[in-house]
Structure formats: C-alpha cells, structure tokens
C-alpha cells in the first residue's frame, strides 16, 4: 500500500507512520519543517532496514495554500495513493484559549476549516480508484464539556464532516475512518495530568491501522472510550452543568 501521513514527524502521526512502514507500506510524509521530515524519513528507513519513505513535502495545517502542492508531490513520488492519514492538529487548554482569542481563532481554523479543506483536496486523489482517508478527531467532540469547549467544538464539526463524507462516498470506494482518541500522552498534552484510560501514541496507532485495514468508519482509541462517551452523552444537561469533566 502507498500511504501519505500528514503530521508524520510527531506524536500519533509518528507512531502511525512507523506502524504502516513496519507492515511494508511505502510512505510519503507531510509536516511543517523540511529538516524534521528528513529526520523522520531516515528514522523509518533505518527502522525497517529498507527504503520505506518515497519522499516528503512541507505542509502546514495553518496554511491551506500548501495542501495542493504537497499532495501533488506525494502523488508524483508514490505513483498511486491508497491511504491518506491526517493526524496534524493543534491543542490548547480551555483556559489558555479563553485568554487568547487570536490563538483560539487559529486553533478553530486549523482543526476544523483547514482540516476539512485538506480532506476535500485529499479525497480527489483517493476517489478515482478507491482508498482510505483516516482522520483523527477526538472524544472531546462528543459532548460540550467545560474543559474542552473550543477544542471540542472544532472536533465535533470535524466528526460530522467525516460522517457525511462516509455517507456520500462509501459506495464510490472512498473509505472514511474517523479515529477518536481519548487522552494520549504526547508533547501536545505535556504538562496535563493524565486522566484514567490515558494511552500512548503507539497504542492509538495500532488501533488506527487496524481500523484502516477494516475500513471501520468510527473507532475509539482505546475502545473503552466508546463506553465512557456513551454514558457522557446520556447525562442530562443539569448534570453536565455541575460536573467539571
């Protein structure tokens, strides 16, 4: 399989790229910085003992003008694209975002508008011959919750977009996989106290790759979050107003 990973140099994206490379896929890496991408490409090649990475291109979630050239470079390097994974995203605590409106604006734009624009571009490469678009949303989008109002709102929008994409294009051969991780211990969440069921990028990557194989439209990572979020969704508004979760 030929796979493009957007956000491949860090966190969950790094773990997904490693998982895909180890099972034999050829990769094209997208990320913000050229040097960092080179370093990650070398890492994947050395790990697998073969040339696993076909190339890389700079692509910045905050700058939609970079999307089309990056995907075009991926197509040129790989020939055909079977899988596109999007792990890129921003994070900020509710307190930090409330205190800094420009930052909140940038996060909302990156995690919703620009991610959707990237997916719109990406599906053009996958639709003609069928393929998988795997995008990382979050359990934060399941319910309006006090600690993640802004981040969660962007992820809720993204989840709905991916749902609609799946409904419309599944029969045409585009498999959309929406991954909803809970708290993952990465540099993005550094400094925050890990809640129960916190997981590692490696655990989440394994679940995501399994979902890509099966074409599962929605997957929670780890699976326990499906149950937790079921309960959270059922809680009455009066309770949600009282609890801090």
């Amino acid at each position: 399989m030929n796979a493009v990973v957007f956000g491949a140099t860090k966190g969950i994206g790094r773990a997904v790229a490693r998982e895909l490379a180890e099972r034999g896929d050829r990769l094209f890496l997208l990320g913000r910085h050229h040097d960092d991408l080179q370093r990650s490409a070398t890492d994947l090649d050395v790990r697998c003992g073969r040339s696993a990475v076909a190339g890389s291109a700079a692509c910045d979630l905050s700058d939609p003008a970079t999307f089309a050239p990056a995907l075009s470079a991926a197509k040129t390097a790989l020939g055909e694209i079977d899988i596109i994974v999007v792990t890129a995203g921003e994070f900020g605590t509710q307190a930090a975002l409330e205190a800094d409106l420009p930052r909140a604006h940038a996060l909302l734009a990156a995690n919703f508008t620009n991610t959707v624009v990237f997916c719109e571009e990406a599906r053009r490469y996958l639709l003609p011959r069928g393929g998988t678009l795997c995008v990382f949303s979050s359990v934060a989008g399941e319910r309006g919750r006090k600690p993640v109002i802004l981040y969660g709102a962007a992820k809720a929008g993204l989840t709905r977009y991916l749902e609609g994409l799946d409904h419309k294009f599944r029969s045409a051969g585009l498999k959309v996989v929406c991954v909803k991780p809970g708290f993952v211990k990465t540099s993005m969440t550094a400094g925050l106290k890990p809640p129960p069921f916190a997981s590692t990028p490696e655990q989440v990557a394994r679940i995501a790759v399994k979902a890509i194989n099966r074409g599962t439209p929605v997957v929670y990572a780890p699976g326990i979050w499906r149950l937790v979020m079921l309960v959270i969704r059922l809680l009455p508004r009066g309770v949600m107003r009282k609890i801090v979760f």
Partner: protein, 438 residues
C-alpha cells in the same frame, strides 16, 4: 507544578518538558531525564531550577551501518525498541542493564553494566560518539578521539556534564535471537565466589541471585545464572515470543514486602532451581530482564518506597570483605527480596564509571525509619574496604562517604566546570553528593 519520582519513590517538584525536539527543550533545563529508572534522586531536578527535559519522545534512529554495527539514535531511544528491532536482524546491544525500559542517553549517563561486565565492560566501551548540549548552551560532538575529556566525563557522569542529545553505539552481531543458559543452586557465599569466577571463564553472561535473608551456614546461598547467545544450530526456528506481562495496579501496603513474605519468596526461588546445571534454550527477554515481566513492580514497596544499595568491593579487599558485608546485611534484616551478586571486570574509562574489578552486591531495601542508619553503616564498611556505591541507585549516601569513595571526583569536577562554568546543569543528587549549590 507536578512531582517527578525516582524508581524507588523519592520525589521532587518538577516542571517536565516533554517534546520530540530534545535539542529545543534542553535549552535552560537543569537536567535531562529518560525513562526514570534510576532508583534515587539522579533524575530529579534542583529546587531552584525545577525544569527537566524529558527525552523519551526523542526516539528517532538516525543511521545504521550494517558493516560496523554502528547505530546512531536520538538519546530517548529505548533499549526495549532496540532489542525488538535489531535482534531479528542479527544484532544486539553490546551491554544491557537489568531493565529494557532505559534510554540510550540514560545508559550512557549511568555507564550501565550488565551480566557480561567481566568480559565486555560497561556501555561506555561501545559508545562511538555523543552529541551533548553543554552547560554554556553550545552543542558539542565528542568521542574517544574528539574532545575526549568531555566524552569520558559524560560516560558515567550522571547527565551532569551536559544534556545527551544523540548517541552512537556499536551493536554486536549475534548468531541467533535465543539465549542458551543454565541456573543452579549455590549453598553459601564462599561457594558463590568460586562458582562466579569459574562461570566467568566459560560464559559471557553471569550473575547470581542471593537469598539475603538466610543466615548461619546458609548465609549467601542462592542461584547462579549464566548464559550465552545460542548458535544457529542450537536455536529453535522462529523468533522468541514476547513473554506474558503482569502489572501491579496500585501502590501496595508495606507489609507486602515485609520480612515474612520475603522469607517465603526467597525460599521458593531457591527451591525451584536445580541442584545441578542443565542447559536450556531461553527467550532473551526473561533472561536479561526478569523484573520487566511485572510492570510497576516498584509499587509493591508501598507508599514509602524502597532504595537499592549497590556497592562494588575491589578484589584487593579480599574474599572476607564480601562475607563480612553479607553478614552485616543479613544481621540488619533490612534487606528484602532482591539481592544480586556479580563479579566485575576492569574499570571503564569514564571518569566516574562505577564498576571496578571486584564483586558487586545489590539489594533492594524497603524504606523504613532506620534506612539512613543502615546505608551509613554499609557505607562505612565500603569506604574502609576501598569500594564505592552506584549513583544510579543511590538516594541515601552522605557526601563525606561519597568523597571518601571517589578520589576521581576532583578530576571529574574540573572537566565539568570547564564546560559549565556557571553550574547550570545539576540534579538533586549532585546537590546532595557533589556539593553543588542548592
């Protein structure tokens, strides 16, 4: 501010910087910390600058030379990943400590040794190159031939000469991914010394487990374990399966590691081993890392935690010294389950490299009211016999004892000051033992 803990449970307030970009997060940090397996306060920051750069996300491989075995990686790369990735390709680490949950950077900082110390020395002997952010903020590449002073101060320097960013280690070719080895009972400490010496001449990997709760004629009884990599003909087809992992889900009450349970466990371990050696094929994981089978085993020791006392007694101290140390240990009753004996080979080139030719004894002790007194007594003995304690394990040694054990300290400090004139890189341990400003 959160708290960071050593493996034994000692903790300090800390601001942990966690990022893939180790080069960035080490700027202005007091210390770099890997997977937090040092037992005492080596990876805890000083109170006035609690910033700790956490290296585990900096885990990329940068180059591998199939001819020489030279592997260059970011300092947060773990031994666990190294063994999983390279054993199937016919390569292994030249030296490994007793846990695979260590980073390359941490291994260099502690200049770790393993079951093959008598033959292959510490990890420092196999390090080709280091990239270090020194105290002035500059990033320096050093090796045995380039900036050798900085290199040999960093090997075993407990991270105090600078933040280790990248490591080049020379892997060794192994004939198969399996171990062939044996274990057999040993009756007492005298027999142990002889058996270890004899096994060392025949086997690359040797170690002894001691029942340090048995007294009298059985004092120092235990189990001798030895092994080597299996040849292709001996090895079974296929790759060893990962062993079953257990976990300690919560911090246990302190009686769990009390004397009574300790006696039972020690007796059982002793009895399940054969009197005579029988060779068997083994998975390298339980052979090298028996304790890794139980995640968070440190929680067994309860809220107060535990400490490990590990010292080396030089050959010049004579065999009586080991026997007398054992007598003190068993009499004190402070010891518990794990007591390990190992004959060490020649001293490494690292300015503070711990092992030296002689006998190493390591034992876990639950923290009690008398722990400080116990460590003081043992240290008095070790100082009198020309031995020294292992900093990666230590939490209780007093500075006067440490200075008496380390005539090499002045040379180390001179190099350290040259690269860090303002003394920016420090740890809770360096304040306790090296006389750094608090």
């Amino acid at each position: 501010m959160t708290r960071l803990s050593g493996w034994g449970g000692m903790s300090a307030p800390a601001v942990e910087r966690l990022s893939e970009d180790l080069e960035q997060i080490t700027i202005g940090a007091a210390l770099t910390r890997g997977l937090g397996r040092s037992y005492g306060d080596s990876s805890l920051p000083p109170p006035d600058n609690p910033t700790v750069a956490a290296s585990p996300l900096a885990d990329r491989l940068l180059a591998f030379d199939e001819h020489t075995g030279d592997l260059r990686a970011e300092a947060g790369y773990s031994m666990r990943d190294l063994m999983h990735r390279f054993l199937p390709r016919g390569w292994a680490t030249p030296v490994t400590p007793g846990t695979q949950f260590v980073t390359l950077g941490g291994m260099v900082a502690a200049d770790v040794h393993g079951k093959n110390h008598h033959k292959d020395g510490t990890i420092g002997r196999h390090i080709q190159n280091l990239r270090v952010r020194v105290g002035t903020g500059a990033v320096v590449t050093c090796s045995p031939s380039v900036e050798p002073e900085l290199f040999w101060a960093t090997v075993g320097g407990m991270g105090l000469t600078g933040h280790i960013l990248e490591v080049t280690v020379r892997l060794v070719r192994v004939p198969s991914p399996w171990i062939i080895g044996f274990s057999r009972r040993i009756g007492d400490i005298d027999e142990f010394m002889v058996a270890l010496k004899q096994a060392a001449s025949e086997w690359p990997y040797t170690v002894g487990w001691l029942d340090c709760l048995s007294r009298g004629p059985h004092m120092g009884r235990g189990v001798l374990i030895a092994g080597r990599w299996a040849t292709r003909d001996e090895a079974p087809a296929g790759f060893p399966k990962p062993p079953i992992k257990l976990a300690v889900p919560f911090v246990c009450p302190s009686w769990v590691m009390g004397h009574f349970v300790g006696r039972i466990v020690n007796e059982v371990i002793y009895r399940v081993h054969r009197k005579t050696a029988k060779l068997k094929i083994m998975n390298p994981e339980p052979f090298f890392y028996p304790l890794d089978a139980i995640a968070n085993w440190n929680r067994l020791y309860g809220r107060r935690g535990f400490t490990q006392y590990q010292c080396v007694l030089p050959d010049s101290a004579g065999p009586d010294a080991v026997r007398n140390l054992m007598a003190r240990l068993t009499k004190s009753g402070g010891a518990s389950f794990l007591c390990v004996i190992k004959d060490c080979g020649d001293e490494g080139h690292g300015l503070l490299s711990w092992p030296r030719r002689g006998v190493s004894i390591a034992l876990d002790m639950p923290v009690r009211d008398n722990t400080q007194q116990l460590v003081d007594d043992l240290n008095e003995f070790v100082v009198a016999h020309g031995g020294r304690v292992y900093l990666a394990k230590d939490a209780y040694t007093r500075p006067e004892h440490f200075r008496a054990m380390e005539p090499r300290l002045a040379a180390f400090e001179a190099v350290r000051r040259r690269w860090d004139p303002n003394g920016t890189i420090r740890s809770a341990q360096s304040i306790r033992l090296f006389g750094d400003r608090p």
